[in-house]
Every structure is written in structure tokens, then in C-alpha cells.
Amino acid sequence: MPFSESQIEAFSSINDGSAFWKKGPKALDDIVTWQRIIRLDAVRMNAEWVPYSPSQANVSDEETSKVARKAGLSDDEHLETCRRYHAARLVSILEAYALYDPDTGYCQGMSDLLSPFVALMDDDHQAFWCFVSFMRTARHNFRLDEVGIRRQLNGTSDIIRVADPELYDHLVKIKAEDCTFVYRMVVVLFRRELTFEQTICLWEVIWADSTAMRTGKGVGEAQKKKKAPPTNDLLLYTIAAAVCRRRKFIMENCKGMDELLRECNAMAGTLDVWQMLDDARELVSRVHGRRPETPT
């Protein structure tokens, strides 16, 4: 594994050295399963990142073979060199993450989330720690008890209910008000629907809002300027906005969850991220305006 001893020590100190082993023999079964899926997913990662990472796009065959060997990668011979290199780095970091956070381990979708970090950072340790930080919120979506993902789906449903009651009534009628049709958007934060560059833009705006919420900066200013306040749920507002923008088509044509799901998955490649964010802000204003104040 391409991690230095100091980094391995860092995992141990943070995790008390036992989070993984506390799980007993099952831990080993889990890691074998995760390893297998991580490898499968890593070699299937798309090459969209390549133009944004010239240094990694031009990585040598020699360096790639070294990294791929260290990661124990096989079944990757058909890939071009830079993609092999990317896949090997994904494997190393995802395996390290699975050990670091054994309650989450590995779940499909996490390779999509990690890929931009790996592409933009040449150092594995840097990409790893950024990913850890990112996963502090994203990991809830992968909780086995489904509490995290349900909260997000319900949150999206609530926003649509308040912002567009007519569309919501239609969703109820076709038994889709639980919003499972936006599952993919929630789990990989629009990574599948947007291009690489659009995804990065969206994620940064979402992080900026979370930072504003955490520090309190910009909240008062938004109030003064009568602009939409920052929110921790910007992703959900953005998803709701993408759905609401297709309200006409959905209400006229989608007569079941299947058609709705098809419509949502077909959004890939058709979205304008800035338009979507404008729409999302508009929804934030609308929902905050309509929703009764919750007592604090």
C-alpha cells in the first residue's frame, strides 16, 4: 500500500487502532468482499478526469506498473496507462478508507466520489485525507440502517412538497413521493448526471454553503440583501430543482416510478449546473418563505 508508516500510524491513532479489529472475524470477510468490489469498480472508472490532470495523464508505463503492482490490481491490462494508474490509486485509497472507517467500508458510488480528488491531487495521502473529510458528511448516505439515505430522500420530498404542491400531488398519485428515483443523485452528488467540471463546481458551492452555515458568515448578509440564505441541504434543493424543472414532462408523461426513474437517469449530460443552482436558490427562498418557522 502506498502509504508511509506515519500515515498508517495516523489511522491507528485516530481510530484507537481497534475500530477495524473490534468487528472480529467478520471484519476480514468484509474487507475481502470490499476489496473485490473496489477493484472491479476502479478499473471501470471513466476517463473524464484525464484533461484536468496533465501530470497524471502523462504518467509513465514504469510508474504505472509499479503502482498497479502495489495495489494488487489485475484485469486492468486492457486499460490505457493513465487509466490504469488512476485505477490503482483508487484501489489503494479506497482500501485504506475501508480500514479507516470499517462501519462504512466500501459501497458502490464511493469510487465516483473519490475519483475527482485523485485526479486533482498527485499525492495519495493528500487525496486520502481530503476524501476522509468529504466523507464525514457523505458517509451517512451509505449507512446500513438506511437512516442517512432516507433522511436525504425525505428531505428532497419535503422540499418538492412545499415548493411545488401540484407536482408533489402527482408524485403521490403515482406512488413516488418517497423520491427513491433521485437515489443516484443523492448518493454520488450528481457525479453521474454532470460533467467532471460541472461536478466540481457544484460540490464547491455546496461546501461553501456548509462552511457559511458552520461559521455563520454570510447568513446575516443574505438576510439583509433578501437573498436566499445558505443551507446545509443545498444538494437536496438542487436535486429538487432539477426535478421541478421537468415538472411539465413528469406530470404529463410519467405514470409510474419506472418512467420517472428513466426520466431522472436520462438527465445525464443535459443539465446546466449554474441554471440548476439558480433554480435551487429560488427554491430555498420559496421554501423558507412558506415553511412555518420551527421553534428553536
Binding site: 473485490r36 468490489i37 472491479l40 469498480d41 471501470r44 472508472m45 471513466n46 459501497c107 458502490q108 458510488g109 469510487s111 465516483d112 451509505f142 446500513l144 438506511e146 439515505i149 432516507r150 398519485k173 427513491t180 437515489y183 443516484r184 448518493v187 454520488v188 453521474r192 405514470k255 409510474g256 419506472d258 426513474l261 428513466r262 437517469n265 436520462a266
Partner: protein, 215 residues
């Protein structure tokens, strides 16, 4: 999205039966590739499916115009109750394994068949066992005999296929649909589904439903 435009140009009403088919099996066995080959006749390196994907296919078989809604599920099933809803109302289930990876075959018995038994709402739901990737015969880890024995034991149809070279892909779906057509309870159900779908949205629900809704 050539498929969606071609299917939407055909009126959704012009079919005799609507069947729901589900693709399940471990990650990387080629479920999405089989579906892509069947619906668009192409083969590509595909990213892993997140949650579920969905495709439509119109076909004519034995003089019947059929509309297939095919649900392509993710191989790593982490969210059991969330994904159980995909099984609802399916007339056919395709259990896929990779003939070069033995674990994907054993998991059908250990994991996937149990899921079908647990969540399937149709007792007569037709099961088809598919061993994919036969183009890599030199790496084969599951023999055809084993596939046949498994299918016999669990009452499944059986085929070996390759999404890459097209072998048996069309046949997979056709055999499954043919068997569904031979199963009266499934055909009757598909008819009633069609009737519901054709009912205009603003029409009041039938009286027996209205009664129970009001309470």
C-alpha cells in the same frame, strides 16, 4: 439516447402486454452490458450501476406486441428495504453470473435466490439463469453442467451468453418472455396492469377503492 427517442415515438398504448423484468446478480457480471446489448445492440465499458437503471424495449413475439420494462439493479446491495421495492410486480427475473468467476455463481444461491424468494410478489415469476462472458472460455470457472444442474434444482431456465460477442443475448430475453407468455397467471396480471395504465389520470377511482380510501 437513441432508445428513448425511438420508444417514445411508438405510442405507449400499442402493445398487448406489459412485462416487468429484473436483472440481478453480483457486481461486474455484466447485467448492464447484457441490457445495453439487448436494447441498443452495442457494447461498452460501463461504470458500475448506482441504485437502479431502467430501460424500455418493444418487441413482437408469437404475434404479440410486447412492452418490456427492464430494471437493471446494482450488484452491491447495501440497502435491502430500499431495493426490495424493485421486485414488486416483476413477471421475470434474470439471475446473472460470470462464468469466469466462481463466487458470482455461488452467490446466486447464497444471496440472490433468497432475495427473490423474500421480495418477489409473483409466485409464478419466471426465473432465468444466465452465465455471461462465455467469450472468455479459457478462463471458465463454472462449467455448463453446473449451470444446468443449478437451473434444474431451482426451477430456472438456463442460457450461457456473451454481451461482448452478442451470443444468446436476444435469446435470453426471448426465452424468458416466451415462458412468461405461457404462464396464464402472469399474462392475466400484465393485462390488468395495462388497463390501469391506460386509464386517464383524472378519471375517478373505481367505487370499491373509493370506499377504502375515504376511511
Amino acid at each position: 439516447m437513441a432508445l428513448s427517442s425511438s420508444s417514445s415515438s411508438v405510442s405507449g398504448n400499442e402493445f398487448d402486454h406489459l412485462f416487468k423484468i429484473l436483472l440481478i446478480g453480483d457486481s461486474g457480471v455484466g447485467k448492464s452490458s447484457l441490457l445495453l446489448r439487448f436494447t441498443a445492440d452495442t457494447f461498452d465499458d460501463l461504470s458500475p450501476t448506482i441504485g437502479v437503471d431502467f430501460k424500455l424495449k418493444l418487441m413482437t413475439l408469437e404475434g404479440k406486441r410486447l412492452k418490456l420494462t427492464i430494471w437493471d439493479t446494482a450488484g452491491q446491495e447495501r440497502f435491502r428495504t430500499l431495493t426490495s421495492s424493485y421486485y414488486r410486480g416483476a413477471q421475470g427475473v434474470i439471475l446473472v453470473y460470470d462464468v469466469t468467476r466462481r463466487d458470482t455463481f455461488t452467490n446466486l444461491q447464497d444471496v440472490w435466490l433468497k432475495e427473490v424468494e423474500l421480495y418477489s410478489t409473483n409466485q409464478d415469476c419466471v426465473k432465468l439463469l444466465v452465465g455471461n462472458k462465455v467469450d472468455r472460455d479459457s478462463e471458465r470457472a463454472v462449467s455448463q453442467h453446473e449451470g444446468i444442474a443449478f437451473a434444474r434444482k431451482y426451477g430456472c431456465l438456463f442460457l450461457e451468453s456473451s454481451a461482448k460477442t452478442r451470443i444468446n443475448v436476444q435469446q435470453c430475453f426471448e426465452e424468458l418472455v416466451r415462458k412468461i407468455l405461457e404462464t396464464p397467471s402472469l399474462v392475466a396480471e400484465a393485462k390488468s396492469v395495462k388497463k390501469n395504465i391506460l386509464r386517464p389520470g383524472n378519471e375517478p377511482p373505481p367505487p370499491e377503492n373509493a370506499g377504502s380510501c375515504a376511511c
